[in-house]
Amino acid sequence: MTYSIFSVVTNAFAGQKLWRPAWRDATPKPAYDVVIVGGGGHGLATAYYLAKVHGIRNVAVVEKGWIGSGNAGRNTTIIRSNYLLPGNIPFYEWSMKLWEGLEQELNYNAMVSQRSVLNLYHSDAQRDAYARRGNAMRLHGVDAELIDREQVRSMLPFLDFDNARFPIKGGLLQKRGGTARHDAVVWGYARAADRLGVDIVQNCEVTGFLRDGDRITGVETTQGPIRAAKVGISVAGSSSRVAALAGLRLPIESHVLQAFVSEGIKPLIPGVVTFGAGHFYISQSDKGGLVFGGDIDGYNSYAQRGNLAVVEDVCEGGMALMPAIGRMRILRSWGGIVDMSMDGSPIIDRSPLDGLYLNAGWCYGGFKATPAAGWCFAHTIARDEPHEFSAAYRLDRFVTGHLIDEKGVGAQPNLH
């Protein structure tokens, strides 16, 4: 059923009995053209674009838990394309353009809200760095505005502008940035992919790969073997573990990233705001809770929970930026396991094994990339060549030295 005002009205008169499950809970067939490992936003988007753009509909998405139970359900829902480096900007801008048309495309309300993303600067040097970033964005056709202190004050009068250590001097504003509803993105892609014939197989963990020499020919799962001409891995957070099943070592460490939600309050923060002197970002959900986060904990972890040192650090960042939130209570916090890559940028590429494709290394920026990652990964799988927007995200860039290091900190994953 296509969702519209008519379906709502029809169901209202029919006692809400005409609704059908948004996707089939499929049992796996013996073989597919493509199997995608990982039923998160990226995996489901990949399956959707394989079917929609490339006409490959004999596709299964296998997920060890329920779809969206990993990082797709553990992020802070921010979407933006305010990157600096040439390999990154076209990719993230394509993602932003897909976000802008996503709800019409999927016939699903993903609650994409372009409420703006503002990165604050606190010194002259940081202003210059943001001016450079803004110029790089504008040269690529991305919207960016460098605004001064008084313009920030008119948007966010409650910030601590005269903080003795980190006074706020202005910010780099991307008005098209904002937030989306993370679960709805997963469900929307799942429903749209399912309608094109994609099988979504939940509670189906990959335990090994079927191979014929150096060629991957399918996956072993807890629901039995599934043969496939091509297998795509899209399991950020666990990429090393799944790749290890195929005998691959990756330039990735798994780290835990925490996020927090406060109790609900009346509308306070209009868009997404980031603190430039520490690592702290915050927005307000439509329910009223403040959604915020900061640094990763900084040590290898698969635990999906972090430690108090980072909780304290994040809250200190929040207090330095907006002391008004000091009396609020944190309602929930959680941790997600992120693929920290060696240069802070992702990998969308063929693997060294024929028939095996890799979408990994998203650090803590995978959510905003969901549509474009699916788009480009589907292209790579379908055509055996990189998409122009993800051509820089090669696995062998660590061999050739073509790193994409936005922060310039080198091969130290916990600093990206």
């Binding site: 090393s240 290890a244 990756l250 798994s254 900084g298 698969y302 060696m342 091969a411 994953p413």
Partner: protein, 85 residues
């Protein structure tokens, strides 16, 4: 998380800085480039016991090798990195 520093005793993780996998060994300077690529970029990244380097910067300033489970955060032990294994 608390780390049992062999010099200072059990201390909060906030006193330490993390470097990473303690099993990595720098290749000989005449080793092929591929060996340096492995050393600099590739990681086992295990889910389970992990030997890792921590620096007790707010304490005794020793480098430690800590054996920690990455799934549970349980720490099995810590010793000075300068001690021979």
């Amino acid at each position: 998380m608390r780390i049992p520093c062999p010099y200072c005793g059990s201390r909060d993780v906030q006193e330490f800085s993390y470097l990473g996998d303690a099993n990595l060994r720098r290749p000989d300077h005449e080793a092929p480039e591929a060996a340096f690529h492995d050393y600099v970029y590739l990681r086992d990244n295990p889910a389970g016991p992990h030997r890792e380097l921590w620096y007790h910067g707010s304490g005794c300033r020793n480098w430690l090798v800590v054996t920690r489970n990455t799934v549970t955060h349980d720490i099995a032990g810590a010793r000075f990195a300068k001690e021979p294994t």
